[in-house]
Point group: C2
Chain length 383, copies 2
DNA sequence: CCAATAAGTTTGATGCCTAAACTTATAGCG
DNA sequence: CGCTATAAGTTTAGGCATCAAACTTATTGG
């Protein structure tokens, strides 16, 4: 169903009809059904100037089905519950070094977190209509199996199956996906940004989410967006993956910290704060380290943009926080290397969602799935 | 309409129904209309074992609408006429150094070639249902305007508009596109190859056509697939585009010829023959030059494959002819650098279409457009 | 209070597709 | 040879989403 119409929130039936090309009659009958299923609610009559009856504003139901987002990060677990409008209604974060725990242990903690969230949803009196799980690795989209998560040390873990088995999720659909992809989607759904962009998340690894025409580009098996091991310097240092001069090795967090001279065994948040502090004080090494990373990033991204013809680059994760120091060299590289940049320069922006992007994207995917095709939810709600 | 069904040529209505999930009734009525519009013909009853009535085989009509393909190459003009089945029914090639002629002069020659082809179609008693024009440059898909063709020295040429004006094309739809993209489509439609791949054409420039799920990935404005100026060596030689270490500069035809020591002002075909000859005799410099290009190509392609999660790389243009000498280093680089290659290695194949790929793709696009949505053609045919 | 204007609903029609029954064509078997 | 099983293709009736157009309701401005 074309319920994606309803995300032009606050508009009247007539306006939606005009926008979508459907007739008022069609929109009316569709909207009636959506109201019946508690996906849409009517609001106050909209203000309009001039003569004529005022339309009744339509909104996605804030007490309709909610989406549960889960993120298995390298050093934390996060969950959140959002409503149809994308508003976050509850959230939990706990730090945990998931590298040192076995997948089974981590999954049992995740299960506990999911149970907590489901109980909270119950207490709030809302249904959970779907669930998204973000993981820092390559997920096969068809099966939901995590093939490999290098920075977690996992291989071949059936995350969806395990969660289904451990938590009692019965009929709740579960989507498993890459964190960078979910983060890109969160960016897409947040505010009124562009519908075509590449979102680079610099966390422990570097991942990209490619959004084309308002949809995620996932590739054939769902492994798309792996930008971390794109080569940027054939004579560069060796990377953990075995190759030389990978982007992740040259522009990843760790390398920035190392070159800036802040790298030690402090907590991640302390490291980045330290770096930002030094940058604010114009510390030579820190500025040089950041600019160097920006240049490598620009080289890799110019390839991406040339290949995919994307008008916008969005910096996410740690890169968003470093954005003021990345912009200049990044834009330089893009301007120089992107073939089409002479008549339409590539725009570079920073994400506003910070480290929460991936969980929110995961939760958002769940509600978007309902909006894109409400029938399964509607029939499930009746049962 | 789901006429794309009919490209499972030679099957019966019942088989098509089974394949597509539609009912026999629906397929029957659809097929009737297609036969009425001369897009489909019935063939001899198919051979079947076992009891039961035999189905009547269905074929795309060989005398249905034809597609006209035009290629404005850097040093030649080519046209071809293909029928709905993709069979080439007529072809013309003329060499011409289009670099030294003004766009107006070239377009007037193209017009003449188009008129010849249209006259031939008339003589054959077939309608031309659409036309595709392949150009070696960046074409804005919305407008059909050629923004820039570096190797031709053109900028901002309204190829579609000019051809419309010069030849009397009245109502024939004209598609203008990048040659590499058309070549990739030709590869897709040829035989039973994969539905997801990246096709690299090494001609004067290097271009890529990205095919995902049986469709071309064009990007937002149609500039997708620009791989020629992806950086592969930050300390590499300067390229004509102003940047350093572009793939085209390091793995393009010219560089291979230069390193092999065959580069002079002979005709393109002589140069490549010379190189192939030397390779066949295991000439040291030629082998080294080719292998070096293969390695750079592998580096660039591994980035593409990581980013887009494509299972197959197809070598086209000059690279297809050099394939035996490119394979090994290319596969090495891909195996080492592609993250997902441990459990699903990237396949590398060579195109069989040679230099004809782009024209055929252009012509094919025209007929595919009719098959994808026959209504405009059907109504036009009635008028 | 009435004309003009616009939102939303009702009604009947249309077009695409389906299910199920029916017709046609073929193989195998007694 | 004719009967039965099987399968292709057609006919028919009906479902369902959408549409066009008329109608009802609500609101402004003279």
């Amino acid at each position: 169903m074309l319920n994606a119409i309803a995300d032009l929130s606050g508009h009247s039936r007539a306006e939606i009809a005009a926008r979508t090309g459907l007739t008022k009659a069609t929109v009316s009958s569709l909207v009636d059904r959506m109201i019946g299923a508690n996906l849409v609610v009517e609001g106050a009559a909209a203000v309009r100037t001039g003569p004529g009856r005022r339309g009744t504003a339509l909104f996605l139901a804030p007490d309709g089905p909610h989406g549960l987002g889960v993120e298995i990060g390298v050093d934390y677990l996060a969950t959140c519950l959002i409503d149809l409008t994308g508003e976050v209604r509850a959230r939990w974060i706990q730090s945990a070094d998931n590298r040192v725990l076995s997948p089974a242990r981590v999954l049992s903690r995740v299960t506990k977190a999911v149970r907590t969230a489901l109980a909270e949803a119950d207490r709030m009196g809302v249904r959970v209509g779907g669930m998204g799980v973000a993981v820092p690795g390559l997920v096969e989209s068809a099966t939901g199996i995590l093939r490999v998560a290098p920075n977690l040390g996992w291989r071949e873990v059936d995350v969806r199956g395990e969660l289904r088995r451990r938590a009692d999720l019965d009929d709740i659909p579960v989507l498993v996906g890459n964190e960078a992809n979910f983060a890109a989607l969160a960016e897409l759904w947040q505010g009124t940004g562009p519908r075509d962009f590449v979102h680079v998340s610099g966390e422990i690894g570097i991942g990209a989410g490619i959004v084309v025409d308002g949809g995620l580009f996932e590739g054939v098996s769902g492994f798309g967006g792996e930008i971390g091991h794109v080569m940027v310097d054939p004579r560069g240092p060796e990377c953990a993956c075995g190759a030389r001069g990978c982007l992740e090795r040259l522009a990843g967090q760790e390398e920035i910290y190392r070159q800036a001279g802040v790298l030690d065994d402090r907590a991640p948040e302390e490291l980045i704060t330290d770096l930002l502090d030094r940058l604010a004080h114009r510390d030579r090494r820190s500025v040089a380290a950041t600019r160097s990373a920006a240049r490598w990033l620009g080289i890799a991204l110019s390839g991406v943009v040339n290949l995919l013809d994307l008008p916008t680059v969005v910096l996410g994760g740690t890169y968003a926080r470093l954005a003021p120091w990345l912009w200049e060299p990044l834009r330089d590289e893009l301007a120089q290397r992107v073939v089409s940049s002479t008549w339409s320069p590539v725009e570079v922006t920073a994400s506003t969602l910070g480290s929460e992007a991936a969980v929110r994207g995961a939760a958002g995917s769940a509600v978007r799935a309902i909006l894109a095709d409400p029938d399964p939810y509607v029939t499930a709600a009746l049962a």
